[in-house]
């Protein structure tokens, strides 16, 4: 019963929270660029407006893909909140991501095509990192279940400090933050028109935005697992991480996909191995 309640809570609260976080993000970004910035509720306004626009499509696959992307993202957040299996959450997240790319590739527009290809490369970079993070969490807790993380007596961050950096890498890619915003930027930076988002418009773009909010909550939720012992600790950790992400977003320039792929996989592997050796040594 509590699980169902949690699921409903996740379903409703996650996008709202995600929108607010994105709003704060835009505000802080503006502040870092010595601008005033939009209101905190701006992401909500954007999505509401998009929902009210005329549906416009290249073909029906795009609509299908947008819907499935949203369902996949929402479902993965529900799974996280109900304490399910980390690897399963990851796979469900992949469902959404795969459909987003399929929808982009389903349009013959070269911008959307290249965006889709780049998104695939981003997936290639962050997916192994996420699996490694989950695997190392399982090393500490002995199980892939989210619920078992909360049975730990001390925060995971002590055991897996380097894995947290690896997660940060994946986070930057997943949140479409600079320097890895190569397939599409979270902000309206122009690159390849809008990359993987180019051909989605109106209500379908709104759906993708909402799905993105779910994903923000999901990745931040996974960050929170690293300080599972206290609620305040979780909030502080997540807030600091997100601030760091914004800072990185604002002080770095976009890199090429080659650099992304090499550095993500290379750094990820090195940090993982070092962290694991340290874990074995303990």
């Amino acid at each position: 019963m509590t699980k169902i309640l949690l699921a409903v809570l996740a379903l409703v609260a996650a996008p709202i929270l995600g929108a607010l976080i994105t709003g704060v993000d835009r505000r802080i970004t503006a502040w870092l660029q010595s601008r005033y910035g939009p209101p905190i509720l701006q992401p909500l306004y954007d999505v509401l407006k998009l929902l009210g626009k005329q549906p416009m499509l290249v073909n029906t696959w795009q609509a299908l893909c947008a819907y499935v992307y949203l369902v996949g993202a929402a479902l993965s957040v529900v799974l996280l909140f109900t304490g399910s299996d980390l690897l399963l959450i990851f796979f469900v997240l992949t469902v959404g991501a795969v459909f987003l790319v399929m929808g982009a590739l389903a349009s013959p527009s070269p911008y959307s095509q290249i965006g889709g290809q780049r998104e695939l490369l981003q997936m290639l970079a962050y997916e192994p990192l996420l699996i490694l993070v989950f695997a190392s969490i399982a090393m500490v807790t002995g199980s892939f279940k989210v619920s078992s993380v909360f049975e730990l007596s001390r925060p995971m961050l002590y055991d897996l400090p380097l894995m947290f950096i690896v997660l940060g890498y994946a986070l930057t890619i997943k949140l479409r933050k600079s320097p890895f915003d190569i397939s599409a930027s979270a902000h309206a930076h122009q690159e390849l028109v809008r990359g993987v988002y180019t051909e989605y418009s109106g209500p379908y773009l709104a759906m993708i935005e909402i799905a993105h909010w779910y994903e923000v909550i999901l990745v931040l939720g996974i960050c929170a697992l690293f300080w599972s012992t206290s609620f305040v600790g979780m909030i502080v950790l997540v807030a600091l991480t997100y601030l760091a992400e914004i800072l990185v977003d604002n002080v770095t320039a976009r890199l090429t996909w080659r650099v992304m792929l090499k550095s993500a996989v290379g750094m990820g592997l090195v940090l993982t191995v070092v962290n694991m050796l340290w874990l074995y040594a303990q």
Binding site: M56, V68, M102, P128
Partner: protein, 639 residues
């Protein structure tokens, strides 16, 4: 009853094959093939109902098998001599000498060993061979007709073709049901010969060359198999697989001695499953007509290789050897997934991804925990269905568009809506939850937990896998908004496509039942514990939980709702793709309006990441590393 069933699944195909060889009447051949397929499917299901059994046919059959062994070896020797291939000749001579010595001087109690035995693992394999294999054979009817029309043959070569195809079905069933290792060797050699003949079927220069390569690699495996059996007999004193498995733990305790024959048998399995450094025969085999690729080189024959490795897993459980098998499997999984990502040839992608998935099964066998073996068996089952489906799709597409390059499949939905959709379903069942393949992969990764090197390779490998599947599915859908033209297709081609696609989805839905009925008993038999508890159809273990039905229902509902919404979309809502405001369209192909008002067609291509995934560069290193791991595997025990 049991006699009849074994007769039907193993011997009947041999007899039907003989009939097909002399039969030149097309329609009759069609009837016989469909009828055989039906009988095979029904009898395999009946066999499944019957459950485990042991059976010894009359001693006469034993002599026939011995005769058959020498017959096949003689044929292979002749081929070797004719092609002047030293490797084939010497390996075959070694086999003949070994077999003579083994058959007539070493083994004293011929006939005392029951020829057949089946547990759930064998039965799963029989199901795969009989159902998937038969459907592919039926597909072959329509495919070969068009294939030969395309080649303008004066005399049809279909009798030979179907002779080997059907013969192969019998041989595979025999292989997975065999208890007597010598029988298994016979069927093993049968599949090698069938494969050689079918790869060379089109009799072109490249087909002959690739067939020869496949032959020498498989003969190498066959030699390893024979000597493995001989050593096994020396160590255990029996030829009965069942007895060896039952006494497995005691051999494992005895250590060392059993591992050498195990290595040889596993090595034989690796050559048959085309693992690195032997992957080149399987990619070369793609010159054969598509039903051959689907049947032999993706869903069934290569499964014989992993079958033997999974079959023997309980014997080498907990040894250093097992760890190396896991390491080898994980490495090849990653390496061949990378090779697949660098390809644009559809059949080659399928070939490499087959090798990759087989390697994952081998890795599971090497991890050798109950959960890993469960993953291995489920992978065998689900992979066979989905991969066969993909091959048949590529075959049908190739006949229509004249290319197997995935770049040419851009916007395929406009031309072949049904086939394109079936192919997309095939891809989704290969890559996404809640389908069976992904569930098995989940089990595999979770059971690798704690072995970090394995985990890293599995993580990287599954990332690459998503890359090459996803873009293929996406680009097939790249069409302008329009009603797709209806598609004409032979019933013998369409039927198997639909059936396999349905099977892939439905069987995934009933995966808890499959696990309970087929996988759990056999794992419990050899490992004494059940890896997963099923609660409301969800797989639960100490390390994790996989929600089958909630996922199916929620994702299914979402998908259904999405589909309903997309139905409402009208042509009025459709616009052209974004082309900077310069878009034009010629014959439904979008392009830019260039200088002087000329149309410039928009062309896009996938990233194949040559610098990371280039075949020539990678293969060299992969082969060296794989070979090194194999050598360490063999001599590691001595260290």
């Amino acid at each position: 009853m049991l006699d009849t069933l074994v007769f039907v699944t193993v011997l009947l195909p041999f007899l039907v094959a003989a009939v097909l060889l002399v039969l030149r009447e097309q329609n009759l051949r069609k009837v016989i093939l469909v009828a055989t397929a039906g009988v095979l499917i029904l009898s395999s299901l009946a066999m499944l109902r019957g459950g485990a059994f042991i059976m010894s046919p009359a001693p006469l059959w034993g002599s026939l098998v011995t005769l058959g062994d020498f017959l096949i070896l003689a044929v292979v020797l002749l081929v070797g001599l004719k092609r002047k291939n030293q490797i084939i000749v010497w390996l075959t001579v070694a086999q003949i000498v070994g077999l003579i010595w083994f058959d007539f001087f070493m083994v004293k109690d011929h006939g005392a060993t029951p020829a057949f035995f089946a547990d759930d693992l064998s039965l799963v394999m029989v199901l795969v061979v009989s159902i998937v294999g038969s459907l592919i054979a039926v597909y072959g009817i329509g495919y070969m007709k068009e294939h030969e029309e395309h080649l303008h043959l004066t005399t049809s070569k279909q009798p030979q073709f179907f002779f080997f195809i059907v013969l192969f079905l019998g041989a595979m069933n025999g292989l997975v049901l065999a208890n007597n290792m010598l029988w298994m060797y016979f069927f093993w050699e049968c599949t090698t010969l069938c494969s050689f003949m079918l790869i060379g079927h089109d009799d072109t220069e490249i087909a002959r060359k690739n067939a020869e390569r496949a032959l020498w690699m498989n003969v190498l495996g066959g030699t390893a198999f024979l000597f493995g059996v001989m050593l096994l007999y020396k160590v255990t004193g029996t030829l009965s697989l069942q007895e060896i498995l039952a006494r497995g733990p005691e051999f494992a305790v005895a250590g060392g001695a059993i591992l050498v024959p195990m290595f040889l048998l596993v090595f034989a399995g690796m050559t048959k499953a085309a693992q690195a450094p032997f992957q080149s025969w399987l990619t070369g085999a793609m010159v054969a007509p598509t039903p051959v690729s689907a049947l032999l080189h993706s869903s069934t024959m290569v499964k014989a290789g992993v079958y033997i490795i999974v079959r023997l897993a309980p014997i080498y459980a907990g040894t250093y050897f097992s760890n190396f098998v896991a390491l080898f499997g994980a490495f090849v999984f990653l390496a061949t997934a990378c090779l697949a990502a660098g390809q644009s040839n559809g059949k080659k992608i399928l070939a490499y991804s087959t090798i990759s998935n087989l390697a994952l099964i081998i890795a599971c066998a090497g991890i050798n925990t109950p959960a890993a073996i469960t993953a291995a068996i489920l992978l065998i089952l689900f992979h066979a269905i989905s991969k066969a489906l993909m091959f048949l799709c590529v075959g049908a597409i190739e006949q229509k568009i004249g290319s197997r390059d995935i770049e040419d499949m851009r916007g395929l939905f406009a031309r072949m809506p049904r086939t394109a959709l079936v192919a997309v379903i095939g891809i989704l069942t290969m890559t996404l939850p809640p389908f069976g393949m992904l569930m098995a992969k989940w089990m595999a990764i979770e059971s690798a937990h704690g072995q970090f090197l394995l985990m890293i390779m599995l993580a990287l490998g599954s990332g690459v896998t998503v890359l090459f599947w996803c873009r293929w599915a996406g680009l097939m859908l790249a069409t302008p908004f329009a009603k797709a033209a209806p598609e004409a297709q032979d019933g013998t081609i369409r039927g198997p496509l639909y059936l396999l696609a349905g099977l892939a989805v439905v069987l995934s839905f009933f995966s808890p039942l499959v696990y309970n009925g087929l996988v759990a008993p056999v794992v419990a038999m050899y490992y004494k514990t059940a890896p997963y508890v099923l609660r409301y159809g969800n797989f639960e273990s100490a390390t994790g939980v996989f929600l089958v039905y909630p996922l199916f229902i929620l994702l299914g509902l979402g998908f259904f709702f999405a589909l309903r919404q997309t139905r409402k979309i009208t042509a009025a809502q459709a616009v052209g793709p974004y082309m900077c405001g310069e878009q034009t369209s010629v014959d439904g192909k979008p392009g830019f309006l260039g200088p002087l008002g000329q149309n410039v067609t928009a062309v896009s291509g996938n990233y194949y990441l040559e610098q990371f995934f280039g075949e020539a560069m990678l293969s060299k290193w992969i082969n060296v590393i794989a070979l090194a791991v194999l050598v360490i595997m063999l001599f590691g025990g001595a260290l």
